[in-house]
Subunit: 433 residues, 2 copies
Amino acid sequence: MGKKSIGVGLMGFGVIGSQVGRVLLNRAAHISEQAGSMVVLRKIKVIEPDLGTPKTDGIDPVLFTIDENEFFNTPDMDIVIEVIGGEKPARSYNERAIKAGKHVVTANKELIAKYGSELMELAKIHNVSLNYEAAVGGGIPLIAPLQKDLVANNIEGIYAIINGTTNYILTRMSSEDIDFAPVLAEAQKLGYAEANPSNDIEGIDAAYKLAIMASLTMEIRVRPEDIYCEGISKLESRDFRYASELGYAIKLLAIARHSNGSVEVHVYPAFVPEGSFLAKVDGVYNAVLVEGDLVGKVTFWGEGAGAKPTSSAVVANVIQAARKIACGDTSHSYWKIKPGKKIKPMSEITTRYYIRMTINDMPGALAGIAGVFGNCGISISAALQKEDNLEEKSAEIVIMTHPSKEEAVQAALKELNNLSVVKTINNFIRVEE
Amino acid sequence: MGKKSIGVGLMGFGVIGSQVGRVLLNRAAHISEQAGSMVVLRKIKVIEPDLGTPKTDGIDPVLFTIDENEFFNTPDMDIVIEVIGGEKPARSYNERAIKAGKHVVTANKELIAKYGSELMELAKIHNVSLNYEAAVGGGIPLIAPLQKDLVANNIEGIYAIINGTTNYILTRMSSEDIDFAPVLAEAQKLGYAEANPSNDIEGIDAAYKLAIMASLTMEIRVRPEDIYCEGISKLESRDFRYASELGYAIKLLAIARHSNGSVEVHVYPAFVPEGSFLAKVDGVYNAVLVEGDLVGKVTFWGEGAGAKPTSSAVVANVIQAARKIACGDTSHSYWKIKPGKKIKPMSEITTRYYIRMTINDMPGALAGIAGVFGNCGISISAALQKEDNLEEKSAEIVIMTHPSKEEAVQAALKELNNLSVVKTINNFIRVEE
């Protein structure tokens, strides 16, 4: 028989933390029914500026503490939720919770991406569970499906639009034919992008989430620094125009896939076929396409951020942890990392490429350029000469290649840069069919 | 500590059963690793015609039996999989398995839709789990997300394209502008539709799956016969043309939603806005949109049928059941039915309507028709006079209404039928925004 009640402690009381706190308090009966035992919020660790703000209205003041020791010394606290985010002090708080034998529920993608295996090692020693559904894709069920529902499959690939800020920006650039900078400025005004947006627009946030999904499913520990990462700031509205002409949309994709015995992991803007499912994921929505050898393609779509969706995932994890505690289930899911798997160097990946450059419009220009590709063993599938500028005697050329090795394409770009007919190489985008 | 190994019995060895059997045998090591204990296939109940067919090649003949008693008397069989389908003999087999204290994994939508609560009552008495992920949406994780990952939410609505055969037919009718009968014939030739297709095209299959999802999430027992069900055979290619002109696609939707204290459950072809996610679900794919009060909208998309996807769900359920057995977890998920909730009669639902009719093209015709709608309290949002037939002096009229009560619209249709200017009412389709 399980314990009579399960105590919960909450660390962090920002936008997400206060939402989680309210759900735990306002839905106590529903949550307890689902968990099969009383689930009681016993203590909330806040920082001083939170106290006395509207967020705390109507919540018993005795629940709040600003003192770390008081928080951790709360009696009968079985589960600790961490929704502080970032490394400090979240990392040490999570470690302290685990060492004190508490099950942990966290929404902290950076922490799990960087220190997931270390935290799981620690959790294993102390025989507690580490739950992080909310770290990836907000309220969209992703971790649990990968961990449990698709577990009979060999996961062959994950293709994810997993950052709402960048997808919002790309959607507007594409539908309104405007450039990156003005859309970013507006996204910041609307609260869709942060004042310092580099974590989102450089793909770092997406890389954290990809590191977690890849480590969970591909039997290899993928750290954020293992992921080749390219952001969206280099994109221009004309790239979207050409993409559309060629039958593609441009999306920031986080990709993990098995490839001839090694694993590819990268985040970059990519051409995706207009008719494909991922091309249709617009605005702040997220979507994760998982390819399994039994299930084929399945896609999970929804709001990937926000306080309410995140609280949905956090509270689901709390209920699952409470159930496990109540029935004495001590089998916990940790990442299954196996030796021998390698991450494929970026230079070795093979894909199709879109290359846009400005050239001096003179006889033989295109022939010279085509010659470079040929020398590098790259076969061209389409070449369009676009938007002549008669005054400057220049023209824009768009090249689409057949599947080619990244190394060869990089070499070709270098040679092209040295070619006198090439004024600038404006952009270079990979294609995912 | 758990038992050393978990024994599995498999009932049914058709297309799905043989695939499940192969996965259990060929991936025994992977499955055992995920389950945390050895998972061993101990017996397969087949019917005589299966024996000696290519399906059985390479499988130890001692595993097969055609004898029900021999199957159930197999020692150390903890989990029984049923992939026979239909009511007979599946129902009595499942009951026998439960009564013998075996955990059940079934892909049988008809059985769970019709007798789910009775089987769960029985399972409760015998303290075993009843797992039915594969009964809805093939390999797409749906039951587990609804049961566990979205459990903090109040589920407000479910909107599902959950039958691949009909979605394939509708996709082709729409994209190729052809009528129902020739597409059905081709779907049958391609194996996408059965020789007797009525279960699919009349929406019965979708109603089974909706009954399961609604009973799981809406605290009310929804039986297949409670679901108002309209199929797709009445649709004509011109309905798709007009829908497209008006900015809609037509999809067979299975809908369950809370509505002023009662629950609406129905399956019918519906207009869905062209830009919406469900409008973009094409071909044999399934998609289920779930609306929760915390998570907002989340959608699960993938192949909703087929042996491989179904085996993905069945084997995941086996692994979960094995984990529970191994760690002695005896808390099982059954439907939580509460008294007091009612299913809303169809006459009381409110939605927008598309009505297509042929009229005698004479002065005052449209005025007479508009008068009927006005008398019934129905407000018209758009009226188009289409495709005059000069020879027959007839014309086709399309009416779109503002939100109206079904009862009023049915009354209007009756009156229209009595109007001398109305030759025929050709179609009548509800609109889901």
